[in-house]
């Protein structure tokens, strides 16, 4: 309590207002601005506006547990079928790889009704179950990440981890059944070793997996923050104690709890000089009946998240030039190139339908030259269709600008990008199909390079 009232405990060099960009990727982030709470300290600090009330039961359980060096947050929503396997992998990971660690599972649940709680409690590690609020809209259409109210879940586990004095907080998805015990090590060790403040997962994927990520999200993040993160929306992450504390005191987080939480935290970490790493984890196999796999919804959620943080972090990204890789742990996996069943013809149909039906919206969103170039794309020949990278970058930037200036209802705007994304994806598949894994990787890099090259186009129009 005394900390909150102590005038001598003020923002440190890494606090808001002291933004700097960690261009080396090394651990030259800010010094811890405030002291961490005493292990197990079960109080809500007055200077942490986003530390949430966890309820008497949780408070008591945390107090009983005492200090923990590692907190592993298992975010669940109707994951009874998979949570046990995942929780056991977590426990195995702690036992085999985090020697001497005192760990706890923080099971943040979004209101499961299928017995998920029971599945999680039957593990070797102590479990604290925390229920968090969930927006109705996200229960009706569960977001792509599978957890309604993920932002609230993160706020809850951040609060709990902070109270337990955890040096590392690892976030784990409860429906990713391909998790291996070494994942916990790769995520937590850079943090525990004091090298990283945020470790983002990266999975081994087939080249046609993650098309939203590869063709839009990763290039955008690279352009915005100057960091070549492979999979910005990876569900597995690890946070250092000081980044947890830093975020809990961030005055802006309250407005970014929903949807945009992960990106906002990443951006904040970069902006405020924390060390960001990437951990190669292996294949990611999801078993979920809850996650939305409706493309328009996924595009709207992911792009809405990025466009949302662009406004918040404009003073940062407008100043960023170029990009660099982030330090990583584990072995980077090559893209899978096995034959895959993707329906290019149907994607091109979707693109043509968009040209036919969405022109009135695109006319509001796209600059005349961009629109003219898009309409000039020849989707007639289904085998030779191409979508130039620089045009694609301008399309995405026009949508970002349209979102920024609110030219059309934002959800309509985001969803109207889908046919264009389908066209770009179709072109990517057609181009990548005869190529090797490395050549496909190079193709994707060219997309990201075009986003960087076209950045002045965006910056000049952003006011």
């Amino acid at each position: 309590m005394a900390d909150a009232l102590d005038p001598n405990v003020g923002p440190g060099p890494g606090s808001p207002g002291d933004r700097r960009i960690d261009r080396t990727g090394g651990h030259d982030g800010p010094q811890t601005p405030t002291r961490s709470p005493a292990p197990g300290e079960a109080v809500v600090r007055l200077d942490m506006p986003h530390a949430v009330a966890l309820g008497e039961r949780v408070d008591a359980e945390l107090a009983t547990l005492g200090p923990r060096s590692v907190a592993i947050a298992l975010l669940t929503y109707n994951n009874a079928a998979t949570a046990k396997v995942v929780a056991e992998a977590v426990a195995a990971g702690v036992e085999r790889h985090l020697d001497g660690a005192t760990a706890v599972i923080l099971n943040a649940d979004a209101g499961s009704s299928d017995g998920t709680a029971h599945a999680v409690t039957s593990t070797a590690l102590p479990v604290v179950r925390i229920e968090h609020p969930t927006p109705l809209a996200e229960r009706l259409t569960v977001p792509f990440h599978g957890v309604p109210g993920r932002g609230d879940a993160l706020a809850a586990v951040f609060t709990a981890a902070h109270r337990l004095g955890a040096r590392a907080l690892v976030i784990v998805e409860a429906d990713v059944v391909s998790i291996r015990d070494e994942w916990i090590a790769r995520l937590a060790q850079p943090v525990l070793a004091g090298k990283a403040d945020l470790v983002n997962g990266a999975y081994a994927r087939h080249r046609y997996e993650g098309t939203i990520t590869n063709l839009i999200v990763a290039p955008l993040i690279r352009m915005l923050y100057g960091r070549r993160l492979h999979q910005p929306f990876a569900g597995h992450q690890a946070y250092s104690a000081r980044l947890v504390e830093h975020i809990l005191v961030q005055p802006r987080w309250g407005g970014f709890r929903r949807d945009v939480t992960d990106l906002w935290m990443f951006g904040t970490a970069v902006a405020d000089g924390f060390a960001v790493w990437e951990a190669w984890l292996g294949p990611r196999v999801v078993r979920s009946t809850a996650r939305s796999n409706d493309l328009p919804t996924m595009v709207a959620q992911t792009l809405g998240a990025i466009f949302g943080v662009m406004h918040t972090h404009e003073d940062l990204w407008l100043a960023v030039r170029g990009s660099e890789p982030v330090p990583d742990v584990g072995t980077a996996a090559k893209l899978g190139v096995d034959p895959a069943r993707v329906d290019v013809a149907r994607m091109l149909d979707g693109f043509r339908l968009g040209v036919r039906d969405l022109l009135p919206i695109w006319e509001h969103v796209l600059a005349p030259d961009t629109l003219g170039d898009v309409l000039g794309l020849d989707a007639g020949d289904g085998t030779r269709f191409r979508f130039p990278n620089d045009l694609w970058a301008r399309v995405v930037y026009d949508f970002a600008l349209g979102f920024h200036y609110d030219v059309v209802h934002r959800d309509h705007l985001l969803r109207s990008l889908v046919p264009l994304y389908l066209g770009r994806t179709a072109a990517f598949v057609l181009e990548a199909e005869p190529r090797s894994a490395d050549a496909t990787e190079a193709l994707l890099d060219e997309v990201a390079v075009a986003f960087e090259r076209q950045k002045p186009y965006l910056a000049e129009r952003w006011r």
């Binding site: 809209a137 009706l140 990520t213």
Partner: protein, 557 residues
């Protein structure tokens, strides 16, 4: 593009003189209209309807045409018109123009020749009589200004027939030469690329003794010939829109068997929309659709909230008219003929929620909507300008002098800009609303954009639901696989409603303006609550109608 494009189209009615004055003489012109096309396009308009543009003495705002093949010099030249037309086409918009078929100006050379040379080639082009006692069963339409449909011509020393003003003599459509001449006029403009005509006052072409001289079979015969010729000569995508201010069952014959007019105004609906909102009762709306006959598949109703004329109350009962006067025309200056000369926003007391609600109904009821210029920003009127001029004032582009409509001296404007504190251009203008995401203008853009997402709005059937709460209007529009549920609270108070949606059990209502998914429909009444004058547009997304799959969804992020 499909030949029946008009079924999905958003129409925009505009005065050339009122939109933008490019040459700074105080009167809007085609050059100004051309310069404003991007604005109209951004609104979501598919087709502009241009009010009379022809040379005219302007004693009836251009509906007194003195030369069918020219452009009024205040508005520019035929070349200016061509540039405008080409500009609209280049933006994917179409243009239709008013054409007065029933009569001309008394200044038209045809009439001048007819009155001075009764035995000459034009002698029989108008309806002349030695007595004013013929066709006595025909009503006088402009009762405020005309006492009879006959007027004495001191030159020819005969009476001439006019259903409208005495300076607008009716053409004699029994004369084949008149038919040929008017058809040639149509060809003149269609050859230039015009996409069709809004044909003024078509019920009155032919006169017969012992009838009310309206809607006569002979008139339909003539119109069918015109339609056939235009279809044959211009490929079938030029349209004819009928102005027939009649009850729906009397308008129905103007569609023929799909071989007469493509479209016709639904006049009786418009006052009933206002009545329903004022009475907070859906009955006036559901009732008029009960009395609206089916029309041929290729035809379409034109719906409107307001237009360049008074809010006409011809198509209501006397009791209903009294109610409308009581409700919407508290100042006697607001009344004109059998109507109310006010714009949409003032009629709604500038209540944004009611204005939006009425537009929401306009865009969802069966038919193609017509937006009257300026109503998309909630322009006001000036009832003291005489005749219907109060609703024909300059477009309000900004808060600058003359609302940026013209650079001329304010005194030279064809009509003064609305300048009162509530509706004046300082408060209501395009520039301001363009910058406000929640402005009426941007809301209209959003609603129009959403309407374009489903063919059900323009082409679907309508089924009215009958919830117990009579202040709530609810209906379902269906087209092919698409089902759109529209729910509107006609009341100024919040209302609950339970809808019988059992036929859609399992469907998920997706609110179209926000893309918000509502709880699925079950086997119990579907409960909704609506704020004051609130409304919902839902797509009823069927459970068995999954999204198209591309093979990338499972791992797209």
């Amino acid at each position: 593009m499909s030949q029946d494009w008009y079924k999905d189209a958003i129409f925009y009615e505009v005065h050339v003189k009122a939109f933008f004055d490019a040459d700074g003489n105080g009167v809007g012109d085609f050059a100004g209209l051309t310069a404003s096309l991007d604005y109209v396009k951004e609104l979501g308009v598919d087709c502009l309807w241009i009010l009379p543009m022809y040379p005219s003495p302007l004693r009836d705002d251009g509906y007194d045409i003195a030369d069918f093949r020219g452009i009024h010099p205040d508005y520019g030249t035929v070349e200016d018109f061509q540039k405008f037309l080409d500009g609209a086409h280049a933006r994917g918009m179409r243009v239709i123009a008013d054409l007065v078929m029933n009569h001309t100006s008394d200044q038209h050379p045809w009439f001048q020749a007819s009155r001075t040379d009764p035995t000459g080639p034009y002698g029989d082009w108008y309806v002349w009589s030695d007595t004013d006692q013929r066709y006595r069963d025909a009503r006088v339409i402009f009762i405020d200004t005309e006492k009879s449909n006959w007027s004495w011509d001191p030159v020819r020393k005969q009476y001439y027939w006019h259903r409208f003003f005495s300076h607008q003599p009716d053409l004699n459509w029994d004369n084949p030469a008149v038919r040929t001449a008017v058809l040639d006029v149509m060809r003149f403009w269609l050859d230039r690329g015009l996409d069709g005509f809004r044909c003024d006052a078509v019920p009155y072409l032919i006169e017969r003794e012992g009838t009310n001289c309206e809607n006569l079979p002979e008139s339909h015969d003539i119109l069918k010939v015109f339609r056939r010729v235009i279809d044959d000569e211009y490929g079938g995508d030029r349209i004819l829109l009928a102005e027939a201010n009649q009850w729906p069952e009397d308008v129905r014959p103007y569609f023929g068997d799909g071989d007469e007019f493509h479209m016709a105004f639904h006049f009786p609906l418009m006052p009933r929309l206002y009545m329903a909102v004022r009475r907070e009762d859906r009955l006036p709306i559901t009732d008029i659709f009960t009395h609206t006959p089916a029309i041929p598949p290729a035809c379409q109703w034109c719906l409107f909230l307001r237009n360049h004329d008074e809010l006409t109350l011809e198509m209501v009962t006397n009791e209903e008219r009294d109610y409308m006067y009581y409700a919407y025309a508290s100042d006697p200056q607001m009344k004109l003929n059998l109507g109310i000369r006010r714009r949409l926003a003032p009629l709604m007391d500038n209540d944004r929620r009611r204005v939006e609600l009425l537009n929401a109904l306009l865009l969802t009821l069966p038919g193609s909507p017509i937006i009257y210029y300026g109503d998309e920003i909630g322009m006001g009127d000036n009832v003291y300008l005489g005749d219907r001029n109060g609703v024909r004032t300059p477009m309000q582009w900004s808060s600058n002098r003359n609302a940026d409509f013209s650079t001329t001296d304010s005194a030279r404007l064809y009509l003064p800009v609305v300048n009162d504190p509530v509706y004046g251009h300082q408060a209501v203008n395009v520039a301001t609303q363009s910058r406000q995401p929640s402005s009426l203008l941007n809301t209209m853009k959003r609603m129009i954009a959403v309407r374009k997402q489903s063919g059900a709005f323009g082409r679907g059937t309508i089924e009215f639901l009958r919830p117990r709460n009579g202040t709530v209007l609810a209906f379902i529009r269906r087209f092919e696989d698409d089902a759109i549920l529209v729910v509107a609270n006609l009341s100024e108070r919040s209302q609950p409603v339970e809808l019988d949606l059992r036929a859609h059990q399992g469907a998920t209502p997706v609110e179209l303006l926000g893309e918000t998914r509502f709880p699925p429909v079950g086997d119990t009444p579907y409960f909704l609550s609506l704020g004051p004058h609130g409304y919902y547009w839902f797509r009823l997304e069927r459970r068995d109608r999954g999204p198209v799959r591309y093979g990338i969804e499972e791992t797209a992020v």
